[in-house]
């Protein structure tokens, strides 16, 4: 028997390769200067799902992402690597969501997709590093969770055994499907793109990507349903706008300070009492030390 697996993925700015032009003069983030990538641990999650699909014939791996229309890029990336289909959750009403409002939106979409055995996501996204969305989605769906997963050791009917990478060691836990797993970067790397799948899916598009050439698109996808990336807004998933986006977010950002970006020009000083003290005070004031 096969399993139905939903992989939660996020398109993130690549915060690991931040250049000097990544911050604007006013201290805000220059998103245009940062490449948008498939969140690395979500790729580990995809691999974990694909391995289950390899092992159990008839399994289906679906990708679900929330973001602006361009986030369908990562759905295509997932299709190139072996996912079967993808869902893009996009709507202005989702904008400004904190982790709680994000997990609400994802949970409503998962309910809409329905019929799943396993939800898999990366442990955390590199733009926020919160590790909250996975457990919050599990709570909203009433599912048990196994976080920090490294490998599925066995899967037999609804019984799953997973190795977790925890502080200072490992833990092997057993659970029952349906459940939600979050996956660590210590798990297996995601397989590369498959050339045949790239050929098959390179024209896969979501509705908003194809609007300017709607007619041609309709013609092209005729009889090729797999080229349609499902696109949903709040209404499509029966979402409550009050619980989405900024209005559904209990946390508010009060203040943002740009700290680290400064020109890499050395400041040279002597070892005098005064110079050392000035340096310590400067580091305290800019939160480098606390």
């Amino acid at each position: 028997m096969g399993y139905k697996i939903i992989v939660l993925a996020k398109q993130v700015p690549d915060t690991r390769n931040v250049g000097k032009d990544a911050m604007n003069a006013d201290g805000t983030i220059n998103r245009a200067a940062l490449p948008a990538i498939f969140n690395p641990e979500d790729l580990n999650a995809l691999e974990l799902a694909l391995r289950i699909k390899d092992q159990f014939e008839g399994s289906v791996v679906a990708l679900l992402t929330m973001g602006p229309p361009r986030a369908s890029e990562i759905i295509r990336e997932g299709l190139f690597r072996g996912a079967d289909n993808g869902y893009l959750l996009t709507d202005r009403a989702f904008a400004g969501a904190d982790t709680l409002a994000t997990s609400y939106a994802l949970a409503t979409a998962i309910k809409k997709i329905g019929g799943y055995d396993l939800i898999v996501s990366g442990r955390q996204a590199i733009d926020g590093d919160t590790a909250q969305v996975g457990p919050q989605v599990a709570e909203k769906l009433g599912l048990p969770q196994i976080t920090y997963s490294e490998e599925v050791l066995s899967l037999d009917g609804d019984k799953i055994v997973v190795r977790r990478h925890i502080d200072g060691g490992i833990e092997v836990v057993e659970g029952r499907l349906p459940l939600l797993l979050t996956v660590n970067n210590s798990a297996a790397q995601c397989r590369p793109r498959n050339a045949k799948l790239v050929q098959k899916y390179k024209y896969a598009q979501s509705k908003s990507e194809s609007d300017p050439m709607a007619e041609r698109y309709a013609e092209m996808t005729k009889g090729r349903d797999y080229l349609q990336i499902t696109e949903w807004g709040v209404a499509d998933v029966d979402g409550d706008t009050a619980q989405c986006g900024l209005s559904g977010s209990p946390t508010k950002v009060k203040k943002v300070e740009n700290i680290v970006f400064q020109a890499k020009e050395s400041k040279t000083m002597s070892g005098s009492d005064e110079d050392v003290e000035n340096l310590i005070v400067e580091l305290l004031n800019n939160h480098t030390i606390g």
Partner: protein, 339 residues
């Protein structure tokens, strides 16, 4: 009601370091908010736990003692905290940003619809004005954390929802006993009132945990010494600076080869690669092999009496001076200027 709560992790026979650090911070916050500090410990064999937590100024200790509650699994611990918080209505809840805290916190915040800020590096109390709504909130928890790969620092508030929840990494807050004879009250709860059998659907079947000797790899602040430290005695001063700054000590290969430091702290091509927020290189000339292990550091300070040391070229701050004089000055100056 409306007190400050700390979820304390319990492993073996002891409350985790990070939890004691949070109790220390929690006491400060409770004083500012003029409320009580309460601790929650969930696990097995908790008879002696009061002795461990009361000295940190805990007014009320809630224990949930049951063999099935250790090792930690998500659902039973979450069920207990959720029900307890519905009864006690805390205004603030702190947890360690550990594997456990980062598994439990989001689950609880989702159920209670209360905001949660992960990996805070500072917690303060202050007011907040919502100009749009024309409302001013007093005595909110400022949850301050780096974001965006460590390139910005954000202050997060949680105006309308309670508890205001935050997780904090180990070693970020200071641990300090308030009064060894501090008297608090213990409430031993009946576990079966809080969990049901179905909460035990996930079970731990195998577990290997070793206590790490140091956390050099994950430390946001690294103080590294080289051959220029001159002696093992001088090198040992770096541990004192590291303790003050909440950092870890690393070494260059030359310092390890000279016997100043053990090999497991070596940074560089044949040792560890670190990417801290702040790297202080003390008496390190900066061979390319060493630089390979630390060049991604956010801010680099080089202390060296050779103005032409190669490491100075990649340093943000260069102190031309003798390390054995500069390091004690830094310790003194930090003690004087930090809060």
């Amino acid at each position: 009601m409306n007190n400050v709560f700390v979820y304390c992790e319990f492993e073996g026979k002891a409350v985790a370091e990070v939890s004691l650090e949070l109790l220390t911070k929690g006491r400060t916050l409770a004083n500012k908010l003029n409320c009580k500090l309460e601790a929650v410990v969930i696990g097995s064999g908790l008879d002696e736990v009061g002795k461990q937590v009361f000295p940190y100024g805990v007014d009320v200790l809630h224990t949930f003692d049951d063999k099935r509650l250790f090792p930690y699994t998500s659902l039973p611990h979450a069920a207990i905290i959720i029900k307890l918080f519905k009864e006690e209505k805390p205004q603030v809840c702190l947890m360690g940003a550990t594997v456990i805290g980062r598994d439990l916190g989001p689950r609880v915040s989702s159920s209670l619809h209360s905001g949660l800020t992960a990996d805070c590096t500072q917690l303060e109390i202050g007011s907040h004005e919502d100009k749009k709504a024309g409302k001013v909130y007093e005595n909110l928890l400022y949850q301050i954390r780096p974001a965006f790969g460590g390139n910005i620092v954000a202050t997060i508030v949680n105006p309308e929802h309670r508890p205001q929840m935050a997780t904090v990494r180990e070693g970020v807050m200071k641990k300090e006993i308030l009064d060894p004879a501090y008297k608090g009250e213990t409430i031993r709860h009946n576990v079966n009132d809080y969990v049901s059998d179905t909460d035990f659907v996930v079970s731990v079947i195998e577990r290997h945990v070793e206590k790490a000797k140091h956390n050099l790899k994950g430390s946001p602040i690294v103080i590294a010494g080289g051959y220029g430290m001159g002696s093992k005695e001088n090198f040992d001063m770096l541990y004192e600076l590291a303790k003050e700054l909440h950092g870890e000590v690393g070494a260059s290969r030359a310092a390890v080869d000279a016997g100043f430091c053990e090999h497991d702290r070596q940074i560089g091509q044949t040792g560890l690669t670190v990417h801290p927020k702040l790297y202080i290189a003390c008496g390190i000339s900066g061979q390319i092999q060493h630089i390979a292990g630390m060049q991604d550091a956010g801010i680099i300070i080089s202390i060296n009496n050779d103005p032409n040391a190669p490491i100075n070229a990649i340093a943000d701050y260069v102190i031309n001076g003798n390390v054995e004089e500069v390091v004690p000055k830094m310790i003194k100056s930090y003690k004087k200027n930090s809060k």
